[in-house]
């Protein structure tokens, strides 16, 4: 079984790639800091989650994806959305429940998606649910002939859910092109990882499915990107699902309301010294990729952008009440005309050619008959049962009439009058 592997040969990135990673990490942080200010001003509806100190993971992993690839974020993956091309205003309006948000105010936080262009699937709050869904995305992509990879994230805590297991197990059995990034930030709300499972490395979760895993320093964006890049290409080329454990730390509380006083001071101090952006700025400066001037430009660029985006969000209206009652059902082609993007000839999937050799057929089996040639037996000996009714068709509207003899046989008993 493939062992978990922490040494990935780090490719040399282009100058632009290095700067992209920097920009998106900065953008990720500034977007969240802006929202923290909005929260303090009571302009955020509901809770606010922070990925402070985990930006390298969201950014580094999502940056390894191609445009055609699919992802579904968790609460701390706003960085991944930004890399995929989501404008900050969408994040702001979502959190402020504005009518201009992707969900028009029907849902908040990073609970939104884009099936058409960005290939983003909206998460739900229930942890782990995204894993089988993204497995299905990868399976459908392969079926359609698209060479896509599906990526999603899960926390140390979320890896204890049953659906994490069912999803990765199905993905493994299907060799689905799925990459799951396990963000081990040492805490699930107030519960330290050590009290969730006696594992040194959560990457070992992968061993239950015979799939490859990686362990990476989640605060080193280049390492995260390199690992994700290798994983994504391996998955794309049919290597099956991959689990990446990124080791990091949740710097803020579970959400804004949580002061996280349960976190040992020493642990916090250790990780605050390892801020992923500070570390990366040091690296970029040493590598002469970033200088004070470049940094200043980025600062200004971000300030200008977020000012604009925030204003758009703040000036946006709340949704009109009528909207509450609309949209539970798709009303048909006019509402959604659903056509998959085929990248293979579909006639090879249809009769007569459709008869793709089944992986495995069994001698003299599989044609509606048991070995005896009689109807194949099914559960609870239904086969012995006699019909209770024969049905006549009158122009498509069946009038059902019970047969005398049959009525006696009815498991519901006869009618005494």
């Amino acid at each position: 079984m493939p062992a978990s592997d922490s040494r990935v040969n780090t490719p040399r990135l282009s100058r632009q790639q290095y700067l992209d990673l920097y920009y998106y990490m900065r953008l990720n942080r500034e977007v969240e800091e802006t929202m923290t200010r909005l929260f303090r001003q009571n302009k955020i509806v509901g809770g606010l989650y922070s990925s402070l100190g985990q930006e390298a993971i969201s950014v580094g992993t999502a940056y390894a994806l191609e445009k055609r690839d699919w992802l579904a974020p968790m609460i701390r993956n706003i960085g991944a959305l930004l890399v995929k091309g989501v404008p900050p205003r969408d994040i702001f309006t979502q959190h402020m429940a504005k009518y201009t948000s992707p969900t028009k105010g029907k849902d908040g936080t990073s609970h939104f998606g884009d099936l058409e262009n960005l290939h983003i699937i909206s998460p739900i709050s229930m942890l782990g649910d995204l894993i089988p869904v993204l497995t299905g995305v990868a399976m459908a992509g392969r079926y359609l002939g698209q060479k896509i990879v599906a990526m999603t994230w899960i926390g140390d805590g979320g890896s204890s859910t049953g659906v994490f297991h069912e999803g990765l197990n199905l993905a493994a059995s299907q060799k689905a092109a799925l990459v799951v990034v396990l963000e081990n930030n040492l805490w699930a709300y107030s519960t330290p990882v050590g009290r969730q499972v006696p594992l040194e490395n959560l990457a070992d979760r992968a061993k239950a499915y015979g799939i490859r895993s990686y362990i990476v320093d989640g605060n080193d964006v280049v390492a995260v990107y390199s690992t994700a890049k290798e994983a994504v290409e391996r998955a794309r080329s049919g290597g099956g699902p991959i689990l990446i454990e990124a080791k990091t730390f949740r710097r803020r509380g579970h959400a804004q309301h949580d002061p996280a006083e349960y976190v040992p001071r020493a642990q916090r101090a250790y990780w605050e010294k390892r801020d992923p952006i500070a570390l990366y700025e040091k690296f970029l400066t040493e590598e002469k990729i970033l200088d004070p001037k470049g940094k200043k430009e980025t600062d200004e660029q971000l300030t200008a952008l977020l000012e604009k985006e925030r204003e758009f969000a703040e000036n946006s209206p709340m949704p009109p009440p009528e909207l509450a009652g609309e949209g539970v059902y798709c009303t048909g082609p006019a509402c959604h005309d659903l056509q998959p993007k085929w990248e293979r000839p579909i006639d090879e999937l249809l009769p007569p050619k459709s008869c793709v050799e089944p992986v495995w057929t069994v001698e003299g089996f599989g044609h509606g008959k048991g070995a005896t040639g009689r109807d194949a037996p099914i559960h609870f000996g239904d086969t012995q049962a006699k019909p209770v009714a024969s049905v006549k068709v009158s122009s498509g509207t069946s009038a059902v009439s019970a047969k005398k003899g049959a009525k006696k046989k009815s498991a519901r008993g006869r009618v005494r009058q």
């Binding site: 089988p132 995305v137 059995s173 049905v391 009618v415």
Partner: protein, 324 residues
């Protein structure tokens, strides 16, 4: 054409839809080489191959989640639950992920979840579930529960072509117990339309699935007593065909609901509320419920029979209501 079983109707619907539309795939436990625990997908693997007929590990949450993910890329997956009772094992995926997507982020999930439901075959407390109310109370699903092979085929085709998640319940008591001649070739039965199975003027009887046949059996007997029962097969529970229901009740002024599902919190209550709101002055008698006992489904035939509504129970209740 020779009459076909309910099972065969299901199989034909899936076969024809898969043959006509490459977006349709089947996913579930033992649906491939085995053809499904009840043989509803018999021969599909041979015809459509492993890409379109997918055997999964035993993991209902994964099956539903994956089907939902597939539907987001434009496929139309049919997810089979080996017994509908296992829908409890994917309840979260269904009610939180699948049901809410279109409302919240405009993501339609054109998928069908189907499987054998209902009691009467001594399946015991974990293989006899009537699941309808859990989902009737969860906005976002359409719910189909047919009673005849003709409807089963036509409604399943309509369900597969629908852009919404459809829960398609197949009553296993009917799988091989009823046969029906059906027209050759393609046809659909629209979702949301009930059908009058028997006309009558004295009272309206609403039912569906296996209880349809129990109700018709009772209606025959009542007819011999001069009580003409109008028997309506709801066929789809969401959308519910209120028009057909109200038209009949406004004519007969009395209503009896027969369902196999347990009584408390069953669909008869919802219908009682609808009639109270929309036909209060039309009712000359109370809405009467004939339903299963408020217990798990017991195993022994003697107990299961006592648990379930029977033609006799329907007969007695209807007679009393008619005389009311």
């Amino acid at each position: 054409m020779a009459p076909i079983t309910f099972l065969e109707a299901i199989r034909q619907a899936m076969f024809e839809e898969m043959a006509a539309d490459p977006r349709v795939v089947l996913i579930g436990e033992d649906v491939g080489v085995y053809g499904g625990a009840f043989k509803t997908s018999e021969g599909l693997l041979e015809q459509f191959g492993w890409e379109r007929v997918i055997d999964t590990p035993i993991s209902e949450s994964a099956i539903i989640g994956a089907a939902c993910g597939m539907s987001y890329l434009g496929l139309r997956p049919i997810a089979e639950l080996q017994f509908i009772d296992f829908i409890a094992c994917c309840f979260n995926q269904l009610t939180n992920f699948v049901a809410k997507g279109h409302y919240l982020w405009n993501a339609p999930a054109p998928m069908v979840v189907r499987g054998p439901a209902g009691a009467g075959v001594h399946g015991g407390p974990f293989h006899s579930l009537s699941p309808e109310m859990y989902f009737l109370h969860t906005p976002g699903f359409k719910i189909v529960y047919p009673s005849t092979p003709y409807d089963a085929k036509g409604l399943l085709k309509a369900s597969i072509r629908d852009n919404n998640p459809v829960l398609f319940f197949e009553h296993k008591f009917l799988y091989r117990r009823i046969k029906e001649e059906i027209p050759p070739g393609d046809y659909t039965v629209p979702l949301g339309k009930a059908i009058v199975r028997r006309e009558g003027k004295h009272l309206t009887l609403l039912s569906y699935a296996a209880m349809m046949h129990t109700s018709l059996e009772a209606a025959d007997a009542l007819g011999k007593e001069g009580i003409e029962v109008e028997v309506i097969d709801l066929r789809t529970l969401i959308p519910l065909d209120e028009e057909t229901i109200l038209n009949s009740v406004r004519k007969t002024n009395k209503c009896l609901v027969v369902h196999e599902d347990t009584k408390t919190g069953g669909i008869a209550g919802e219908i009682a509320a609808i009639l109270s709101e929309k036909a209060f002055h039309d009712l000359d008698g109370p809405l009467v419920r004939v339903a299963s006992l408020d217990t798990p489904v017991p195993y022994a035939p003697t107990l299961e029979e006592a648990f379930l509504p029977s033609a006799q129970k329907v007969f007695t209740a209807a007679k009393a209501l008619a005389r009311f």
